[in-house]
Structure formats: C-alpha cells, structure tokens
C-alpha cells in the first residue's frame, strides 16, 4: 500500500511562530522593496539581518547580475564594495553607503514598464529592447540590454527619450514626456531583461563638502561643461549641456556621472560615492544657484560678453556723451 504520511503535529511552533515569522519576513521584504531608503539610507546603517560581511556571496545569491567591467574600488558605486546591500528573492534591491544609495525600482513596476516600453520605445529599440526589429533588422535605437536601471531612468526622466528627432546627432534635454514614476517603470522592465548596475541612485546631500566638489568639478567636469557649468558645443555637432538648468535633479547628476550618457565619459572607480556626492552638491548648489556677488553675470560666457559691454556701453556711451559735449561739423 502507498505510504500515508502521518498528519503534522499541531504545535505552537507550527501554528504560531512559523506563520508569524513568515509574515515578518514578508513585511521586511516589502519594506525593503517599496522603501529602500528606510533600511539602507539616512542613518547609514542597514538592518543587520540584511548586510552580509561578504558582498560577493550575497550577490551570488542575488542571481544573475551584469557587473562586467564594474570597478571594485571602494565606494565607487557598485555593489561589490558598498557597505549596505539588500537582496530579496534572488534579486538585487539596493546597495550603497552614507553618500549615495543605489536601488533598483520595485519589481512591481515591471509589468507597467513593459506596457510603456511597448508603446513608447519598442519602435526604435525593438520589442525586446535589444536593438533588433520584428524582422530581425537592426533598429535605429541601440541595444538597451545591460545598461542598468540608472541609464534608462536618466534618459527618460530628462526628456531625452522618447527622442524628438531620431536623426539628431544627440538627443537634447526637454520637458519629459513621461512622469518620473513611468521612467522608473520602464527602467524596471529593461533591467529585468538583463539585470545590471548601476541601479537608480538616491544621493544624500547633507554632509557634502562643496569645496571638495568644486575642486573635483574643475578637474573632471569643467573641460566639457565649462567652469561655470554653462555648457558648450563640442565636436561634430555634439554638445555638453548646461548644468545651470534648475530642473536637473541631484539624482540625474549622479546618473549622468555614473552611466556616462551619449558622449559623456563614465566615471566609476576614479570617483568614490562620497566624491560624486560632493560634486552633485556643488552642481545643485553653486552652479544652479550662482550668487554673482559682483552684479549681473552677463551670461557667464566670460570675456567676450565683457568686451561687448565695455565697448558698446562703456566706450559707446562715453562717445555719445562726447557727441553731446562737442560740435558736429
């Protein structure tokens, strides 16, 4: 006769503790999923139960993750070296430290993201976001698999995507067609196809050092964006956009630095999260809110504007006064 299993003993352990424990874990997990900052953020200390002393083993448990080419330099913005690491159900939820927390969008966003992608993005990037069209031809838009959630969030939340003009040399920033949440939803879906870092960053600007940020800005950023952050035209129709635009959020600045959109270089191990936070604090502070203690800034484009003012208003004005004082023949 086939074995009949003995009925489970009903004890306190099985009737109360086990369900309570499962509920507790589920609650913690949903907290981690919906509010990553509460666990890994402001206080700088994550819940001990979610931090592993060996990030690599935790990441192994996180499941497949594209960390190819990611630098392991301490606090450089990758999960190998971050002090806080949260994983759930084999998926990387968030990592980071006191300066920046990186978190993937909640997995509940994925379905909405698939919809949005199909409506807004698949015509240029392919149905699978891999740059391959329905008949196997190459699409206009590049392969997005492996770019990471931060990349997608940057391009969509800054309005660059969906592209206004697919033939333009570079997509320009404009009023975003999709809401920030929709951007995260698309990012969640693309990331789910091929999980990668960096995840969406959440910088913590309190405690940033603007002076260090200014110094780093002048070494790393001013060569393209100018020392005042006003942006300028680069080679062959490309350009470095202005950073003075106040609609640029701190999050977008971190995303740009870590993901290197378009022709911008990608800063990974050469800038730690603390250094990136300092740069972001300087950009969202002094660059976007210049104090101009000397008076009107004349556009911040430097001596050319000053020369025009000196010649037209200075010499020109004084010449007009000469015209009044003297005779005309």
């Amino acid at each position: 006769m086939r074995g009949v299993r003995a009925p489970q003993k009903r004890t306190f352990r099985t009737q109360v503790l086990l369900p309570a424990g499962l509920l507790g874990v589920a609650a913690m997990a949903s907290l981690a999923v919906f509010f990553p900052g509460t666990l890994a953020g402001a206080s700088g200390h994550a819940d001990a139960s979610h931090v592993s002393t060996n990030p690599r083993s935790v990441l192994k448990a996180c499941g497949p993750l594209n960390t190819k080419g990611v630098s392991p330099t301490p606090n450089s913005g990758n999960p190998f070296t971050s002090t806080n690491l949260i994983c759930h159900d084999g998926h990387l939820v968030s990592y980071g430290n006191a300066s920046i927390t990186y978190a993937n969008p909640p997995r509940t966003f994925i379905d909405a993201g698939r919809e949005l992608f199909a409506q807004n993005c698949s015509s240029c990037h392919g149905n699978e976001a891999n740059g391959v069209g329905p008949e196997g031809e190459a699409t206009i838009g590049p392969n997005l698999q492996g770019v990471g959630a931060a990349t997608v969030d940057f391009w969509v939340s800054s309005g660059r995507m969906p592209a206004a003009d697919v033939k333009a040399v570079e997509a320009e920033r404009r009023t975003a067609r999709l809401t920030p949440t929709q951007a995260l939803e698309i990012a969640a879906w693309v990331n789910s196809l091929y999980p990668a870092v960096p995840a969406v960053p959440y910088p913590h600007l309190g405690g940033a050092n603007q002076s260090v940020g200014a110094d780093l800005f002048s070494l790393n950023c001013a060569a393209c964006h100018t020392i005042t952050g006003s942006g300028d035209a680069l080679a062959y129709g490309t350009n470095a956009p202005t950073l003075e635009n106040r609609s640029i959020t701190a999050q977008q600045v971190v995303e740009a630095i870590r993901t290197g959109p378009a022709n911008m270089p990608r800063f990974s191990g050469n800038l730690s999260d603390a250094q990136v936070r300092d740069i972001v604090s300087y950009v969202t502070g002094r660059v976007q809110h210049p104090t101009n203690p000397g008076g009107f800034s004349l556009g911040g484009v430097g001596p050319v504007a000053e020369g025009f003012v000196a010649l037209l208003i200075g010499v020109g004005g004084l010449a007009l006064i000469c015209f009044w004082i003297g005779e005309r023949s």
Binding site: N209, Q210, S211, V212, G213, A214, D215, S218, L219, A222, A223, C224, H225, T226, I227, T228, S230, G231, D232, A233, L234, A235, Y236, G237, N239, A240, Y282, R286, P290, N292, P293, G294, G295, F296, S297, L298, V301, G302, P303, V304, E306, G307, F308, V309, A310, L311, G314, V315, G317, L318, A319, I321, C322, F323, W324, I325, G326, E327, R328, S329
Partner: protein, 520 residues
C-alpha cells in the same frame, strides 16, 4: 598804541588791487616762476570743438581711473605663487590649495570693504582704456591726423596701444586663476615657438620651467611700475606734442591751415574736460557696481592640469585667439629643428605685420600720395576713399578674427556644428575684409558726389491739379534752417556783458568782425 591803520574788509580788498586775491596770487607766482606771460597765452589756447576730438580723452581719463584704483589694489595684492590653504570667507574654496596671489584677490573681492567695486572698476576701466585707444586711433587714421608734422605722435600712440594690450594681459594674469593661468600657458608656448630664441626667452622670463614661482612677482612689478611709468612718459610726450603743434581741425568757414578755431582753454575747455573726467570715472564706477567682470572665485586657483571649456582672453587679445583657432596645422619640421608655423605665424608674425603696417603708414602714405606738405586741416573720410577703405578692411579683418575666437559659443548658440563654424571663419577672414574694403570705397565715392549729404533736406508740398497732375512746391524753411554763424576771432581781453534785460539784444558785443547768415 599802535599806529597801523584799522583793517576793514573794504580796505583789505582795495589793497589787493582790481583783481582781488587772485591777482595777488598771480603776483606771487610770477615773482617766483615767471608765469604771467606764458599763463595768459596758455589760458587763451584754442581747442577745436568737434566731438570726435574727445575720444582720446576717454583713454586719458580711464588711465587716470586705472592709476587710482590700481594703487588701492596694490595695497592688498600679494604677488606670490606660494601655495596655501584657503580659509577665507568664500565657502566653496575653503580647504583648497590656492596660491597666495589668488587668495589675496579673492580677499579683495570679499573681505575688503569696497574691494569688489574697486577691483571691478579697475578691470572695466582697462577694457574701456584699450577700446577708446582703438576708437581714437581710428579717428586719427580716417581723418589723416597722422600726417606731417604729427607722425611722431602717431608712432607714440601705436606704442601706447601695444603697451596697453600687454599691460591688460599681464594685469588679469596676476590673480593666478584657472582661466588667466591657461592664457599664460598659451603665452609661454607662443614665445617658445619663436625660432632660435624661443626656448631661451621663456626660460629667462619664467626663470626656468613653466609655471615656476617667479612669473607672478615679475609680472606684478612690470604691471604696477615699469609699464605705467613708460606709459606716463609716453602720454606726457604725446600731450606736449599736441600742445606744441596744436590740435588739427576740420575744414570749414574761417578755418585755415594757419589757425585754430574753437573755444578757449579757460574756462570753457577746462570745465568741459574736468566734467568729462568725472563722467569717465562714473562709467567705470557704474559698470563696476552693477556688472560682474572676471569672477575669479568661480574659476579656482591655477592648476596646470585643469582646464575649462569656452575660455577666451580679454577682448583686446581676442583677435590673436581667433587667429590661432582658424590657422591650419602647418608645422615645419626638418634639418633637426621644428618651427611650429601654426603658432608662430598667427601669434607672432601676424601681429608683428599688423603693427608694422601701423607704424610705417605715415611714411607709406607720403610715398604713395607724394604729399610732403604740412597738414593741419583734417580730411573727411569720404575724401580719401582709398585710405578709408584700407582702414575699414583692416578693422573688418580684426573684427572677424575677434568673432572667430568664440567659435564654440557661436556653434552652441546657433546650433551648428563646431567644425562647420571654424571653416566658416577660415573663409570669412579672407572674404569679409575684401568686401568691407570694396563697399567702403564705393560708399565714399558716392558720398563725395552728393552735395549737401547729411544735411536735412527742405521739405516739399505735393499739389495735385484738378486734371490730376502732381507738382511739388518747396515748403517754407523751418525755424532753425537759417541761423547766424560768427566768424572766428581772437579771444578778447574781456567779454563784455549786458545786465539782465528782456531777452537781451542780438548786438554782438565783442565780435567786431562779421556775422553771417547760414541757410541749411
């Protein structure tokens, strides 16, 4: 009991003679220095009144502003590239390693009361100084005031222009900030490119390798002592020659090669020129108060491995920067040596050529026109179309080069490719001066041929007859179309005055010579 007469106010006044206390002072000065005869001649000196003759005064008075504000700045500036940690009041710099020169300039801007104003006044006055020199030089050129006997004054003027440009460059390099330090690096490389002597020149001037520690102190003393002294000397000679040879004037009624017609030195010219001094200073002060210039605190201290995009030199060096950008990358390398033509030609040979043309122009024109006469009357620019066209072409060339120094800003503003913008300027720098010269020549010829150009035309009344035919009738003259002009005459001993009457009469009191009616 003393026997000195009681001193009443009246008796004191009467004892001074008919000219009062002023007469007494004149007596005292004349006894010691012999000022009487020369003084009267000096006060009677006549200055022609045309407005364009005042452009040189803009330069002179902005130089005075530069001296005054400059003295203030020297009391705070530290000419040293010693690196210190900044602990001043500007937060984004705190804790950074900066040079003492930079820190002291930031200190002037933020921690010295009135320092920001004086510093910005100084920089605006420098831009106005060079601008007004060029405008003044253009007036001299287009009216032919450089001709015999004034060639030396022209030469001194060009020398002062060159010194003013260097002085400005050195001045804004003193704060040792990122932008001006980059300019110094470029200056170093330009000097380095000179064949045979380049490496020696830079090694001597910089005291070794770039950037070294001695260039800022050396620039400081050149900027505050050496060049200002030379400029003061040249300005003095320039003005003495002007007084000795007397100012030129435009041709007109009563004006000949052998007289000067205008208003007297005292009180008219002195009042107007002193008032103008205040107004030039006011222009610097208002710009310095309301328009930010050279905000070095945004740039950071100079680090040779850092750079900002979209940097240009100050406007009077812009033509050189533009030339350097558009020059093709030709370099001669052979026989064991290198001559970087892409630097040497636009930055050394080209400005040398331009200034040489300026220096030899009076001689060249003498040879070209065969005219060796003395000239005290000015040309109208339209009467010398070839000279005016040449000057216009030169100005067009310099302006195109100046525009070429902001290729990146233009490419960004107009949303065109940077490469295309550069090619545009390579072509424009040849085409624009030629077109400007030709157009100017034509304009001059046309304006010569039109009588009464620039004068207001008499209006016409258009009448239509019953048959539909149109005819015109000149309208009545307007109120100020006819007016009285005086013939010139020597400054009288006194200008007699009338007591206050109803409107006063039109009888000339102190001009016995004729009165002419002038109709527009």
């Amino acid at each position: 009991m003393s026997d000195t007469a009681t001193k009443t106010k009246r008796s004191v006044r009467e004892s001074m003679g008919p000219f009062g206390p002023v007469g007494k002072i004149v007596d005292e000065l004349d006894e010691r220095f012999g000022v009487a005869k020369g003084g009267r001649i000096f006060l009677d000196k006549i200055f022609p009144d045309h407005w364009s003759f005042m452009l040189g005064e803009i330069a002179l008075y902005s130089f005075v502003v530069l001296l005054a504000t400059g003295v203030f700045l020297t009391l705070f500036f530290v000419p040293s590239t010693n690196q210190i940690i900044y602990h001043g009041s500007y937060a984004p710099l705190r804790g950074q390693r900066v040079s003492e020169a930079y820190a002291s300039t930031v200190n002037i801007s933020f921690s010295v009361r009135g320092g920001m104003l004086i510093r910005q006044m100084h920089h605006w006055a420098a831009d106005i100084f060079t601008g007004s020199i060029i405008v003044h030089m253009a007036r001299i050129f287009f009216t032919g005031a450089f001709r015999k006997p004034r060639e030396l004054n022209w030469t001194i003027g060009i020398l002062m222009l060159i010194l003013a440009i260097f002085e400005g460059f050195i001045g804004y390099s003193l704060p040792d900030d990122l932008i001006s330090g980059t300019g110094l690096r470029i200056g170093y490389s330009i000097a380095e490119s000179i064949p045979f002597i380049g490496s020696y020149m830079v090694s001597f001037l910089w005291g070794g390798t770039f950037p070294g520690n001695i260039i800022i102190p050396r620039f400081f003393i050149i900027h505050v002592l050496i060049i200002p002294l030379v400029l003061l000397g040249l300005i003095s000679v320039h003005l003495i020659l002007l007084v000795r040879q007397k100012h030129t004037q435009f041709a007109g009624e009563g004006r000949t090669e052998h007289n000067v017609v205008g208003s007297p030195m005292f009180p008219t010219f002195m009042a107007k020129t002193t008032g103008f001094l205040f107004m030039v200073a006011a222009a610097s002060a208002l710009l310095g108060a309301f328009a930010q210039i050279n905000p070095i605190w945004q740039f950071g201290s100079y680090d040779p491995s850092k750079i900002s995009y979209a940097v240009q030199p100050d406007w009077y060096m812009g033509w050189l920067d533009g030339a350097l950008r558009i020059m093709p990358s030709w370099e001669f390398a052979g026989v064991g040596h290198t001559v970087p033509l892409e630097v040497f030609l636009p930055a050394v040979v080209f400005p040398g050529l331009i200034f040489t043309i300026c220096f030899i122009w009076p001689a060249f024109e003498r040879r070209f026109t065969g005219d060796n006469e003395l000239h005290n009357l000015l040309d109208r620019p339209r009467d010398r179309p070839k000279r005016t066209a040449a000057g216009a072409a030169m100005l067009a060339l310099l302006f195109t080069l100046f525009a070429a120094s902001s290729t990146d800003v233009m490419a960004n503003f107009f949303h065109v490719s940077l490469n295309a913008t550069l090619w545009f300027f390579r072509i424009a720098v040849i085409v624009v001066p030629i077109i400007a010269g030709l157009v100017t020549y034509q304009l001059c010829r046309e304006m010569q041929g039109v009588h009464g150009i620039g004068k207001r035309k008499r209006s016409v009344i258009v009448r239509r007859s019953a048959a539909g035919e149109y005819s015109t009738v000149p309208a009545a003259p307007r109120a100020d179309d006819e007016r009285t002009e005086l013939d010139p005459e020597p400054v009288p001993a006194r200008i007699d005055i009338e007591p206050l009457g109803n409107g006063g009469d039109r009888e000339p009191q102190s001009s016995p010579t004729g009165v002419r009616q002038v109709t527009r």
